[in-house]
């Protein structure tokens, strides 16, 4: 038994120590080292590029919104994408673009010119927490109650004083094209941008004829989700 154990020990030692010794002795070839070096260079270059991209994303940003609260060091804005925090300091420049009342005294804009509920654009750089460090604050005029733009895609089905456009939803939109110079003809597929007036007519500001045409698929009614009763006939 003693002999048996010593034999196993010797064989295990040979099997384990020899490969380990071989591995320790062997050095990576020049080819592997070159590849490693190339990989290192590639990683460093990619990291630098990534850093540059991140910096680009954080510099020269503009937060535009309504002032919700203000202190001597910060302004909180309600912007399109949510709440935005703007940091201000003694170097921040102020500009007032709101229309001046006749006879009003000329005042150099300052942080005191920024009132709650006023529209502002804060220009500067954003830090990694999303706070914009403002270099300039521009007080904007209140947005006019302008109607939102409408976009249409469809086929011209008639042209008279107004053009009729058959849309994807198989509805027909009346479009006034008096403000545009672009030539179009019947059956053209067009993209239109404009504003809907009170009579639901789209006053086109821009019209583009799709050169390659398009496909106006006929509207197919969706089949009912309830399956039809089926009769089963068994073989007799």
């Amino acid at each position: 038994m003693k002999k048996f154990v010593s034999v196993i020990t010797i064989i295990i030692a040979i099997n384990f120590i020899l490969p380990m010794a071989n591995a320790a002795d062997s050095t990576p070839s020049a080819d592997i080292q070159k590849k490693l070096q190339e990989l290192k260079t590639e990683i460093a270059s990619k990291a630098a590029k990534l850093k540059q991209e991140v910096n680009q994303k954080l510099t020269n940003k503009a937060y535009i919104g309504v002032v919700k609260s203000k202190s001597q060091t910060s302004i909180t804005l309600a912007a399109k994408n949510g709440t935005r925090l703007v940091s201000i300091n003694q170097d921040t420049v102020y500009q007032d673009n709101t229309p001046k009342k006749k006879g009003a005294k000329q005042v150099t804009p300052s942080v005191d010119s920024v009132k709650e509920e006023s529209n502002i654009a804060a220009l500067g750089d954003v830090d990694d927490t999303g706070v914009l460090h403002a270099r300039k604050i521009i007080i904007l005029p209140s947005p006019a109650d302008s109607k939102p733009k409408t976009y249409l895609w469809g086929q011209v089905t008639s042209i008279s004083d107004l053009a009729s456009i058959k849309t994807k939803e198989a509805s027909t939109a009346a479009v006034s094209t008096s403000n545009i110079d672009t030539k179009f003809k019947l059956n053209d597929f067009v993209i239109i941008s404009g504003v809907k007036n009170k009579n639901d007519i789209v006053e086109a500001h821009f019209l583009y004829v799709i050169p390659t045409g398009a496909v106006l698929k006929p509207k197919i009614s969706t089949p009912s989700a309830t399956p039809k009763p089926t009769t089963t006939s068994g073989k007799k």
Binding site: K3, V7, V93, L140, S146, Y151, S193, Y208, V215
Partner: protein, 144 residues
């Protein structure tokens, strides 16, 4: 140590090591294929049959980012969408249309107005399906 090994002892030792090796390999195989949690998630039976995702209109904008301050009047608009689509770029004062290339990529220079530009990028495919993305860009003529 100088004693000569008998053939029987040597053969028994080799067989023992072989069995030990096989058991270890078997254990490793079992662990990797049946026991390991990662192997379970890769099971095609649990994931169901392989199905192709329905192709739908996509719009990925590479440039510009949202809430950008631009000192240049021409703003590069680029991205990727379905091939052969028309992309309408529209702000309050300006509109333009560009077409996507066969690989779906598109690029174009959009003319900004001074101040705030609310830009809408709308893609229309051949069937009139549409997808849109909004961007707010502030154009300043003077550098800060």
């Amino acid at each position: 140590m100088n004693k000569k090994l008998s053939t029987k002892a040597y053969a028994s030792a080799m067989i023992f090591i072989l069995i030990l090796g096989l058991v270890s390999l078997g254990g490793l195989y079992y662990f990797l294929n049946f026991y390991s949690p990662s192997s379970k998630t890769n099971s095609s039976v649990e994931n169901g049959p392989v199905t192709k995702e329905p192709t739908s209109l996509t719009l990925d904008l590479t440039s510009p980012d949202d809430e950008v301050l631009s000192f240049s009047q021409d703003l590069e608009i680029s991205g990727k969408t379905s091939p052969g689509s028309e992309i309408l770029i529209s702000s309050t004062d300006n509109d333009m249309v560009i077409s996507s290339k066969p690989d779906g990529a598109f690029t174009g220079d959009f003319n900004l107005s001074e101040g705030t530009n609310q830009i809408k990028i709308v893609v229309f495919d051949k069937n009139g399906d549409q997808k849109e993305i909004d961007r707010t860009i502030y154009y300043s003529k003077e550098k800060l």
